[in-house]
Symmetry: C3
Subunit: 255 residues, 3 copies
């Protein structure tokens, strides 16, 4: 837990333009000196904790146990939603109890949950990231588990289905559309259906013709819809939330 190998990883919908990320980092650097702070994503889909929860789980797996994730997609800030800490297979997650952390918790082999029941001296109504989540995340990363500010709970209040989500959950700046379907379920003969299009598999971009849309398993282990040297999401009219279907090929009579 924490210690020399810890990292603080930020996963938010704050965007890059504004001073919010920097204000959070000011708190983290002060409270956990020497711990690396890494920006993983500040473009988590706005107001969409479900897509965010799928993305967060997929992306977190390439970080080592001991990593502390600072997680904010929090349209209900200042309202009645609770704040929580999750430990899932050794990785730590700090954020709102609105489902965002629930998929990482549900898919872990072992997980623990705490409610944050601490009120900092200065708590802005709209910036719990800086005032509440950052001090807790920093304390964990610095190896000082803040037991006096947490209460163990059996489970989160808001829990999303831990299964795959057959929707578009993220569109990157190249126009590649990530689905919430883990690639382990699909073999190369599968066809992906989205918005009336049927897409076949290619291993890498260079195996597709220029502009051809296709699907493949991306570096986060998810089925992704892409096009070679083209913006797949624009070409196919895709948006976060769109439904995706997998079609298995017909079984051959010979089997």
């Amino acid at each position: 837990m924490g210690g020399a190998a810890a990292m603080l990883v930020l996963f938010t919908d704050y965007g890059w333009q504004d001073p919010y990320v920097g204000q959070v980092k000011g708190v983290l650097a002060r409270e956990a000196p020497g711990v690396p702070i890494i920006d993983l994503l500040h473009a988590a889909p706005d107001f969409n904790a479900h897509a965010g929860a799928q993305l967060l789980d997929a992306l977190s797996l390439s970080f080592a146990p001991g990593t502390v994730f600072f997680c904010v997609v929090d349209p209900g800030v200042g309202g009645p939603r609770e704040a929580c800490v999750v430990q899932a297979d050794g990785r730590w997650f700090v954020g709102p109890d609105n489902g965002l952390l629930s998929i990482a918790a549900a898919r872990a082999e072992q997980a623990q949950v705490w409610r944050i029941d601490w009120t900092p001296e200065s708590l802005s109504d709209t910036f719990h990231g800086r005032d509440l989540f950052a001090p807790i995340a920093a304390a964990i990363a610095a190896g000082r588990f803040p037991a006096d500010r947490l209460t163990a709970r059996d489970r989160l209040n808001i829990r999303f289905d831990a299964g795959d989500l057959a929707r578009i959950i993220y569109i990157d700046h190249y126009g590649n559309a990530w689905t919430g379907i883990r690639g382990g379920l699909a073999d190369p003969s599968v066809t992906v259906q989205v918005k009336g299009h049927s897409l076949t598999w290619r291993r890498v971009f260079g195996d597709a013709r220029k502009g051809e849309p296709f699907w493949y398993v991306n570096s986060a282990g998810l089925i992704e819809i892409a096009a070679n040297r083209a913006h797949a999401a624009s070409a196919l009219g895709l948006a976060v939330g769109d439904i995706v279907q997998l079609s298995m090929p017909p079984v051959s009579a010979a089997h």
Copy 2:
């Protein structure tokens, strides 16, 4: 001054896209090894040192004394404006003497001012951030006050009014419009007037109807114009520089 607890905080109009921030960080990391470098804002309003000065002061207050702010909104780079260092209640500011640092200086209980009168061996005409301000800021953050490169001054050459600025000074990527009016002056019964709209107070976003514009005191302590799950600046037609007015409610006859 400086020492183990120092941080280097960047406040510029360089944007994120370009190599300018990275080149500055290369100098800072070399000259102040081990000091955390934090990006606070790279979207300070272009060519607008006055709005920048208000923003810088408001945002700086959540950082501890000892923090060193690297500050660049500098349309006059390479011209006759001087370069300066300000120490204001223990926080350090390094940048152009064009007013950008003047509000932080004026509002501090105690402040000191120096002119940078050093010319580095290699000084580009257009990138004083990398060549001039970064080495000075790094030296201060590393605890090596560069006395031989500075001359104490009574005050800055360019000084903006230290009072509140009743204008829009920043619009964030959510569309929330920050004013230069500190929230301590306003109570919840005040109405904010902007561009022909009258806005009432809400404590948090969730207290407003979907799309309803309102005002509240933001996490930097400033009056901000926002809308619940909507882009207030687009909806109300707001831009940086727009004038804002506060209307007090009529005094009740009963008092």
Copy 3:
């Protein structure tokens, strides 16, 4: 090589929006703890290793020997192109062997080249930055040269002309257009021709009239086309790849 003074500097076309940079940094921070990681550019021109190679060389010169550059402009990822390490006058470059590193190599007084012939246990087909280049770059920066994963080579497979490139190679967010022509070749009497426009020299922005386009030698040592308080690229219709010509003034009869 590596050691306490090393830095890891990122030069990619990943953009800022997506989780790719953060995933790379997770690997770098784990494998080279304590080494500063600096984002130099994530907006290298897409699919354009030639422009990228010119930019990379120009920008790298302001970093000290020992710096390790993580370099990705890699449309052929997963295909037959090789991966390589270049050491050029003490600076290290890790990336694809598609020409991106070739100008830095060719212009150095002394350079060495290695092929990366290691296949990591988990190598995604599309994210060699995270899986292949990052571990190699981190090992070099940490002072552990990975000799067992590299094979010395006489030269790179793909090599661009090491001379200046008389084209636009980058457009910054202010609208300033960088050329691939080093400024040492031009004196102030030269005229720059681009898209039918003839531009004269100004030392700094403030020496031009408002909106006037001009050329000057920028902070990376390259000829740049700019305009005072205006977006030169939009005003002149410039794009990356556009051809630029320098016209010497007529020789005076008196000489």
